[in-house]
């Protein structure tokens, strides 16, 4: 009896295993629909409005020796939640918006160079409406010069006077 039950179990496991191992068929006919990507392993992959995002992998990572005196998760007891676990070369200290005298929208961001070397970064901004519809195209890339351990800022105004609800600032290294 026991052998029979074990046999049934192994049979079922085998069936499930075969069920998992599906062949992937490449159907090349027709266009591929453009879709949004939802990936639990990449929670920051979507458009994050009202924030500054660093799109340059070279700026995101800064190879240096990381000294930790306690497990990382314990840091929530000392300083809220751990910030900037990726050792980014730059820190975004502040970001905000304001209305200009003519009624346009201005955005600003304050950057701090965490390295001992001068950095040149480029920033651009895109403005969106209430439903995240683009109100105007992205601005041109503007250079921001950061001295070693120094602070600098990026400011940009919208062209349109239409109602702007959201912004999206991208940062990359200047080449």
């Amino acid at each position: 009896m026991f052998v029979a039950k074990e046999g049934v179990v192994f049979f079922l496991v085998l069936v499930f295993s075969f069920g998992c191992a599906k062949d992937v068929i490449d159907i090349s006919e027709g266009p591929a629909p453009g879709v949004r990507v939802r990936d639990s392993q990449a929670p920051h992959a979507r458009v994050m409005v009202d924030r500054v995002v660093i799109i340059d992998k070279g700026l995101q990572k800064w190879d240096t020796k990381k000294v930790e005196y306690w497990p990382n998760w314990l840091s929530i007891f000392f300083n809220g939640y751990p910030e900037n676990q990726k050792n980014s070369k730059i820190a975004v200290e502040k970001v905000g918006t304001k209305k200009t005298p003519v009624g346009a929208t201005g955005v600003w961001a304050v950057f701090r160079n965490r390295t001992d070397y001068p950095l040149v970064i480029e920033c651009r901004v895109q403005f969106f409406g209430k439903n995240l519809e683009p109100v105007e195209g992205p601005s041109a890339w503007q250079k921001v010069y950061l001295p070693p351990q120094g602070v600098s800022n990026y400011k940009e105004n919208s062209i349109t006077l239409e109602r702007i609800e959201h912004f999206y600032i991208e940062v990359r290294s200047a080449v």
Partner: protein, 210 residues
Amino acid sequence: MNYRRLVGLLVVSFLGCQNYKTVRVKGQDGNPSVYIDPGTSGPNKGVGIESQDIISMTDRIVRDILNQPSIFKGQKPPKVIVDAKYFRNESISVINKNIITDMLRNHLVRSARGRILFLGREYVKMLENQDGGEGVGGKVDVMGGVKKVFEWDYRMGGRITSIHSTNPKTGMRSTFYHFSLELVSAKDGVIVWSGSYDLKKVSREDIIYR
């Protein structure tokens, strides 16, 4: 017995099925293209004025002008001339000044949306020749009408200046550029807006600009 074991195995096998593997996007290039983003520096990295400099500068200046309240003081939209006549290149870089003023004017015309009117002084001959029967200008005093049409409130002027240095031992070149642009009032010559754009480039490459 072993029903627990059975259920356990089934759960494990189900979990095994649900544990999908995410396929990461490989950061690989697509097909090679001859086109590159004009707002980004290309393979030729020299110390001259390049497309990304002009695009960055014009974009910054357009946003600055359109957010300048002193230009929009009057009831009527001001009439502005943006051309290269009073825009001088005193830098060491060879550049067609019209590319800067044309980009500025195009960008401003599209962005201002009637808040500022831009005069096509370059096309004055077009209006003068209307009495040839192509348009309506032949009915009136053409020259007087044209002069009235081209009355302006503000005109753009400015210059590009530079400081250049070369290290003969290393061949390293360094150039600092200063773009100065101003809007001058036709009434009294007052500068109602002034904008500048600075950039400094260092390179060992000997790029020829034309």
